[in-house]
């Protein structure tokens, strides 16, 4: 009973202008990045963290959605799982983007200076965790966990295109179950390492959840953008309809509300208790111009997309979906900027340093996607759930 008929969906080349745009952005981004590093390595380094954590969000978020689809037995998303599987490949550029950060480590992470630690009781007590060797080892562990599971999921899914073996789905379901708890721990510690420790005195138990939620919102926004863009141009299959769009819209809406819930809870608890060891983090982000950035995040990461997606018909409109996804992607950049840059500068700064990495990241997303799409089917044609996914109705 394991084999079933595969559905024939002809493979098409991606539109050439999109691929060209991707390469152009990557090249411009790279030039700007090199220029940044040459002129001001510290500032470039902080921006590098922004770009790095952003791409990690997309990559890990994509792997998370692959796992969740298997575990939950979702069918509506099966026809689009390849998009996620292509985006997971961003793990490779993520590793590459980490290298310059490691090279500039001392100018970015305050706690990596031995003399600073020696003079600071609190940092001393943290030094068994916050030290460069362990930091690097942990990074390797995260990458190994994520890519290991990612490549197995992907391998099984790609193989299934040919052999239609249902056992592969079963295998992936088991793996996904094991992956989720590992992901929860690894992404929390990842965010603590790379983002929270920029301000090494500050701590919040919610921080891992905050970054994770932002990540899955972003990964879903990127996926939604690709799906809508490509299906508008006749990719995927006939029969993609408002039910599929609605599912994307509703999920995006739900997740961005969840993000707001997490962000507000974190703020509320620290604001209310008003303990000096915690509140300085928000106070820095509420003065010298950072307050405008904070308000912008609230607007662009929550209220604007919230009201764009709140009504039922709007969740089905391709135009609304694309716009809100684009806003959310930009908002996640802003969010990373808001998390990272107050450590660098007391008031917000904006110049070509700040646009180098966003341009590079967007370019990389498109290029990686295009390279994958060239090689593999855009739809998992061998997946047993595919027909149900195509026929999906609310």
């Amino acid at each position: 009973m394991s084999a079933h008929e595969s559905i024939i969906i002809p493979k098409k080349e991606l539109p050439a202008n999109i691929v060209k745009l991707g390469w152009a952005l990557t090249v411009i981004g790279l030039v700007l990045v090199v220029l940044s590093y040459v002129t001001d390595a510290q500032r470039a380094g902080f921006n590098n963290i922004i770009g790095f954590t952003f791409l990690a969000s997309v990559a890990v978020g994509a792997v998370f959605f692959i796992a969740i689809e298997y575990i939950a037995g979702a069918v509506w998303s099966t026809p689009f799982r390849r998009v996620l599987e292509f985006l997971g490949m961003l793990l490779v550029p993520v590793v590459l983007l980490a290298i310059p950060i490691f090279l500039n480590f001392h100018s970015l992470y305050h706690w990596s200076h031995a003399d600073v630690v020696a003079a600071d009781k609190v940092l001393q007590s943290k030094s068994p965790y916050l030290n460069e060797q362990f930091f690097a080892i942990r990074f390797v562990i995260y990458i190994v966990i994520w890519s290991l599971f990612y490549f197995i999921f992907r391998h099984n899914s790609l193989k299934q295109d040919k052999d239609n073996d249902q056992a592969r789905t079963k295998k992936n379901i088991g793996l996904a179950a094991a992956f989720i708890p590992l992901l929860a721990i690894s992404i929390s510690l990842f965010s603590i390492d790379w983002l929270m420790s920029l301000e090494p005195h500050w701590f919040s138990t919610m921080f891992g959840v905050y970054y994770f939620t932002g990540s899955i919102v972003t990964a879903l926004a990127v996926t939604t953008y690709f799906v809508v863009l490509l299906s508008e141009r006749g990719y995927f299959f006939k029969g993609i309809n408002e039910n599929h769009y609605y599912s994307f819209g509703a999920l995006l809406f739900g997740l961005l509300s969840f993000w707001a819930y997490i962000a507000f809870s974190q703020f509320m608890l620290i604001w209310y208790a008003n303990l000096p060891e915690e509140n300085f983090w928000f106070i820095t982000r509420w003065q010298n111009g950072w307050e405008y950035v904070s308000v912008a995040i609230v607007l662009f990461h929550f209220w604007i997309p919230y009201f764009m997606l709140v009504s039922r018909p709007s969740k089905m409109k391709p135009r609304v979906l694309k716009q809100s996804a684009a806003i959310l992607i930009a908002a996640h950049f802003l969010d990373m900027y808001w998390l990272v840059m107050p450590t660098y500068s007391a008031s917000p700064v904006f110049s070509y340093y700040e646009i180098a990495f966003p341009i590079l990241s967007i370019g990389l997303i498109i290029v990686v996607f295009a390279m994958q799409a060239k090689k593999y089917n855009l739809v998992p044609v061998g997946d047993p759930k595919l027909q149900r996914g195509i026929d999906f109705h609310l």
Binding site: F264, F267, M268, W271, Y272, N274, S311, R312, H393
Partner: protein, 379 residues
């Protein structure tokens, strides 16, 4: 009892048939028809040609009213009506109002949606519809699907309708009702109903009165009042002399206590010259004096010391403070009068501290000067 035709109905037992039948009835141009199914069926709305429901607008409106209303109310309470500093935070601590605002928005949205749906969209409760208690209803409430085309539809023609429904494969029947069954008179002004309302009002008032005035004074509800402590002016079983209020232990004074050297009966004129005002008429001292004067003195002496009491004759009005006698008194005489009282005026030494009394004296001097201003003061 005369029976009238309500509708021609047809019963189907397959969901595909009912969709087809619905589309057929719609296409035949009937407006007053309905489909009855034991559970909602996908695609039936389209087949019947129903428009998208407007219920979402009710929800949105109710949620906005709830959220706006609650945050305004909480802000009004916290900022305007009774501002209090809580936890060292500003009066308008908006993040703390988010939870209540959110809850009320949800509550109103849900109640508004369901209430509007039941009352206005469904016009419920209505338990005397012609379809109720018919064999047709019994079938569609179990497992069958039914179409019912009403006789008051403009295009209704019994024969044609029967034919149409038969062609779609339904089991055709008719639903009748009696006129009487539908007549409904509002019974708002029925004496029995009015009497019931009056009864409820009386019972509620009596219950409220008994609760607040009687029940709460019975044990165990009054146990916060019955505390084994000595209250002022009460007897004590503990001390041999039976006095609850005790004198200080011999040879001790309370902290910060400075004894007042003059007796209660001493004349203001005679002791006044021995008391020296320690306060300069600074802005701070005058502000303090003004505040205390308004609090303690003005009810009888009037806001400007003119002896125009606000007590409405409950006490005899005191003489004005602008008389030559008081104006020529030394500061100490006024201080002494406040401290020990005069005629019906009681002693204020326990309510008003020494410094405050002197501040009041300074303020009275200011008032006096203001009411008897010389040319030189105006320059």
């Amino acid at each position: 009892m005369e029976k009238k035709l309500y509708s021609i109905s047809a019963i189907y037992s397959n969901p595909n048939d009912i969709i087809r039948a619905a589309a057929a009835v719609r296409d035949a141009g009937y407006k007053k028809f309905d489909i009855h199914t034991p559970y909602p069926i996908h695609g039936l709305d389209g087949a019947m040609g129903l428009k998208e429901t407007k219920l979402g607008f009710v929800t949105l409106a109710a949620a906005i009213i709830g959220a706006a209303g609650m945050i305004s109310f909480a802000s009004w309470v916290a900022v305007v009506d009774y501002p209090q500093v809580i936890g060292g935070k500003p009066y308008w601590s908006w993040p703390a109002f988010v939870p209540v605002t959110y809850e009320i928005a949800v509550l109103l949205a849900v109640l508004g949606t369901v209430g509007a749906m039941i009352a206005f969209f469904f016009k419920f409760p209505n338990i005397s519809h012609p379809l109720h208690d018919t064999p047709y209803m019994k079938k569609v409430s179990a497992d069958k699907f039914g179409v019912s085309i009403q006789a008051d539809d403009g295009k209704f023609n019994e024969k044609v309708v029967r034919e149409l429904l038969k062609n779609t494969g339904g089991e055709v029947d008719a639903v009748y009702y009696s006129e009487e069954f539908l007549t409904f008179k509002p019974q708002m002004f029925d004496p029995k109903f009015i009497f019931l309302l009056v009864g409820i009002a009386l019972a509620t008032s009596a219950g409220g009165y008994l609760y607040w005035n009687k029940v709460l004074y019975l044990p165990p509800f009054d146990w916060m009042m019955q505390q084994p402590k000595v209250k002022p002016q009460t007897m004590s079983e503990f001390y041999a002399d039976g006095f609850g209020m005790r004198l200080p232990v011999a040879g001790t004074v309370a902290r910060g206590f400075i004894p007042y050297p003059y007796a209660l009966g001493a004349k203001a004129d005679s002791v006044g010259k021995f008391l020296v005002n320690p306060l300069l008429p600074t802005k701070a001292a005058l502000d303090l004096g003004k505040k205390k004067f308004f609090t303690y003195c003005s009810p009888c002496h009037g806001n400007f010391g003119k002896g125009d009491s606000r007590m409405n004759g409950q006490f005899p009005n005191p003489p004005t403070l602008h008389s030559d006698k008081v104006r020529t008194w030394p500061d100490g005489a006024i201080f002494h009068t406040i401290t020990v009282g005069q005629n019906v005026m009681p002693s204020y030494q326990y309510q008003i501290s020494r410094e405050e009394r002197w501040a009041i004296v300074n303020y009275i001097r200011t008032l006096q000067r203001a009411y008897n201003a010389k040319e030189s003061d105006l320059q």
